[in-house]
Symmetry: C2
Subunit: 548 residues, 2 copies
């Protein structure tokens, strides 16, 4: 937020208030915006806009009956963007357009900042007559395999509490508001979503599903800010102890985007989450799923994770999704000979390899991957085994195993071109510097490079592997590895993978102290930037990779 | 062999020779029998018997063209029994009957001792026109699953070199002799086999199979005595390096004993040995099979074995056989919760449990079971996984898993009754004191109790488990776990299991220093004799169990 003294205000009132702020520095130090407060509580000075509070509540908690959203505690940049969208018509709402156009962009920023600074609050009463079982399932798990539909919380964060400036909280928003927004995305009335993500996602939902998912989010408690780390895990524990009872299957989607018809007939179908087994084995399976999704924060597994990664970052839909390196594809294929290790590895050794490389276990509290008999490994093995129920042992050619390939292009791949692809398509989630995003103490969009990313030994550091993963799985909700529908061209996928993997990251744990020997021994592939590309400091990538 | 001076001879010549022996003590010390030599080389003194050498060769190497067997180096007790069988008609052969009846039982013993003392030799030329691929397969692997037919070498020992006094060598015997014997078992002309084993087995072979297996054994090199440890392993290595090329499938058997029709339709069928995969993974699979069969002597695994047991001792047909705790039944069922460990165990932990208990790893060179990433475990896991090719993951109710149960009887079980069952049915292979039998450095019939047996923590030490295994799998070649054909009644199976498991064996590795606490904690089952039965020395079983 800009400082009041440097700000150029568009209203006389604001100038006046600036003086007040200068006189009463304590207000400025609180971060609150008096201009925003004034508009929110009393409307525009020239009466061209009514007070926001009139509809959105004195505390910004929204109006449930009318479906006016809560604003308190939402991200300032998000709120500002919404107001600007009413002005530019990318979100069509006559009332809000009138308000937004009557205020200057500067005023809009002030109002947004004001509401962002309030304590999050909601007065929503979720409708009692709308069943939420389907909505809960879609919100928490999505329907990746049938229609390429990610879980809502995959972007909106744990509990739907919101993530950064692009993914607002859904928890505690009025049922009517949420329904209306999903309908608006579908119809095109609202079109201000990054990459058209919400347009794609909303079109995959039936009217009943829209109501169910809206009712479920409306009923979710509101969290006080994005840094409450306990929220999601408390929920997770509760979920593990007493699984939700689902009363019916997810209805099939009524409307299908052209080209997105389900193509997954023939892919192995793992047992559904409603079929979790009972007893001690079932507990291990559930714990395995939780570890898979929250590897870096789960109390059992976090000691082995030396970065901010979770298994589910590279294996979507909790390891269920075809062509997204599903667990069932691996389970039936191991033990197997691996060129990487030059020997036959068991499934457990393969899992330990994920910790060694993708989780950079060397940098963890334990400093090594979990042992074969550890709770972490036994849980993950139990989960993988259970997910594979019915899959034929030894079918290493099972359809959907690993990632779907992406054809090489005549142009090859280029980090420079990839940078533009990244900025346009990836930065909204992963951050301008690939730093990722967190919410409720959990990683939502993983770090792509730097010390918190996968290390120089991980499979994902190879451009071809990354291109294959990205092409068919990114961005969430648009591309689908099952329907084989992709936003990025092959060329874009290769280039952005090259861009991602031409950044520094933790040292290869096989590094033996001799950089050029390590590069020669393990990084001779043409898809590998280790020891090949110079960084701005003139040093080769990998040369001074952080070792921890 | 009895001492010459104490021996009561039936011939004048022998008395004379006794004097000679007394005068020339060096002959006696060589162990050679002059009476036997005399009869063998020159016939009976009264000319009632021609010299054995006339037909069986001067060196006892047999006569290939006529099909007269080699005698040199065979077990003395075995040879003596055969001669007595000609006398009593349990083996009908007019020529040999004439010879055997013209000599006294004492003379027969002398002749037998004489040949037993010669160096093993054979002059056999295997027939060039009889294909041996089928025979080799039957000899080495049998056809357990289709017709309850164990491998010939399962009783006749590695390479068919013979085991003890009941199982003569087959290697280097004349083709015609072997064919004639198998036909004689079938027809009943020869009926002097223990428990009728050979009668059962021979009836399961077609005429072509008889010829093929005879041709294969005829061609096998003769080993010098039962203590040449390298024979089998050299063969094993060769087999691993260059697998035998089998030119055709095993012909289906033409004659089926009543009640022995194949009932295995519906059991999972593992890939055949002809389908071993290639490359490094295939090598691990082959090594896994070798470790499974020769756990206590294989150079990779022996360091973890603290007794004289191999996996195949309790899992017949190299872990392939339904209702004999096949590997494929376990593979698809793990990880699983186990009451024994009170937690969820992976397949690898289950394997390590076998080493801990059934192999008594504590007493091994390594003093602990193999680690999860050890060559031993990776090989066994590779083998189990490969054997399970096509089996549905998670099908823990797969038909044929574990052992087939045996119903409890109104009499319960009793070691005293079991002793009689054991002596009648089991001692011929496992020895009068359950000590087992070895040949070519390999265990052929495992030790059942004492310091070289499974320990007090092994599953087999439970009477119910042992009864189930014994009922449907013992004796080899008669009972069949697939055809559900059994020699022993339920009562006999329970009683003999009780007899076997009421002997001392290595201490339970869970023993915590307090005998009664260990007994209470781990041995409260009514099927468990640990801490319950008094030994002759007045101490409870398990109290002073050997700890190593």
């Amino acid at each position: 937020m800009s400082s009041p003294v440097l700000r150029v205000s568009g209203t006389t009132l604001t100038v006046l208030l600036c003086g007040l702020v200068m006189a009463y520095g304590s207000v400025a130090s609180s971060g609150a915006s008096e201009t925003g407060k004034q508009i929110a509580e009393q409307g525009a000075a020239n009466a061209s806009a009514v007070a926001c509070a009139f509809c959105h509540g004195a505390d910004g908690g929204g109006n449930d009956a009318s479906g006016f959203p809560r604003l308190a505690g939402l991200n300032a940049a998000y709120l500002e963007k919404q107001l600007l969208s009413y002005r530019d018509g990318t979100n069509k709402n006559p009332v809000m357009a009138s308000m937004a156009t009557s205020l200057s962009p500067g005023d809009l920023k002030e109002v947004a900042a004001y509401y962002a600074n309030l304590d999050a609050v909601s007065h929503v009463m979720a409708p009692a007559d709308v069943p939420t079982a389907t909505g809960e399932k879609l919100a928490e798990d999505g329907d990746f395999s049938q229609r390429g539909l990610p879980a809502c919380v995959q972007c909106h964060g744990p509990g739907g509490q919101g993530v950064g400036s692009a993914f607002p909280p859904l928890a505690g928003q009025p049922f009517l508001y949420l329904v209306k927004q999903l309908e608006a995305w579908k119809s095109g009335i609202r079109g201000n979503d990054p990459l058209g993500m919400m347009k794609h996602v909303a079109k995959l939902l039936t009217a009943d599903e829209v109501r169910s998912v809206a009712a479920w989010f409306a009923a979710q408690p509101v969290s006080q800010g994005p840094n409450s780390k306990d929220n999601r895990k408390a929920k997770l524990v509760a979920k593990t102890a007493t699984p939700a009872v689902h009363t019916g299957p997810v209805a099939h989607h009524g409307e299908v985007e052209p080209g997105r018809e389900p193509k997954n007939i023939g892919y192995f179908v793992p047992p559904s989450r409603e079929e979790f087994p009972d007893g001690p084995f079932g507990e291990k399976v559930r714990q395995g799923e939780a570890i898979f999704n929250y590897t870096n924060t789960h109390e059992v597994s976090r000691q082995y994770v030396g970065n901010e990664q979770a298994c589910s970052g590279c294996h979507l839909d909790a390891g269920r999704l075809a062509n997204s390196a599903p667990l069932w594809g691996s389970w039936v294929s191991y033990p197997a000979y691996r060129r990487k290790t030059k020997t036959v590895n068991t499934f457990i050794e393969r899992l330990q390899g994920c910790f060694k490389y993708s989780m950079n276990a060397q940098g963890s509290k334990a400093k090594h991957p979990p042992a074969a008999a550890s709770d972490t490994i036994v849980s993950l093995v139990s989960y993988a085994y259970w997910l594979s129920t019915g899959a034929p042992t030894g079918d290493s050619n099972i359809a959907g195993r690993g990632y779907a390939r992406v054809a090489e292009t005549s142009l090859g791949f280029d980090p420079g071109r990839g940078k533009l692809v990244f900025e346009k398509n990836c930065a909204v989630c992963h951050g301008a510097n690939g730093e990722g995003q967190w919410a409720q103490g959990e990683v939502v969009f993983p770090t792509l490079w730097g010390p918190n990313a996968y290390n120089w030994g991980a499979g994902m550091h190879k451009v071809n592997t990354a291109a294959a993963y990205i092409k068919w799985n990114m961005p969430l909700g648009i591309s689908s590895s099952v329907q084989m529908y992709a936003l990025l061209t092959d060329q874009e996928a290769w280039d952005v993978a090259a861009f991602m993997n031409s950044h520094e990251r933790p040292q290869d744990p096989r590094f033996d102290g001799n950089f050029s020997r390590t590069a020669r021994k393990f990084h001779s592939s043409k898809y590998d930037y280790y020891g090949k590309l110079k960084k701005p400091d003139g040093k080769l990538l990998g040369k001074d990779a952080p070792r921890k």
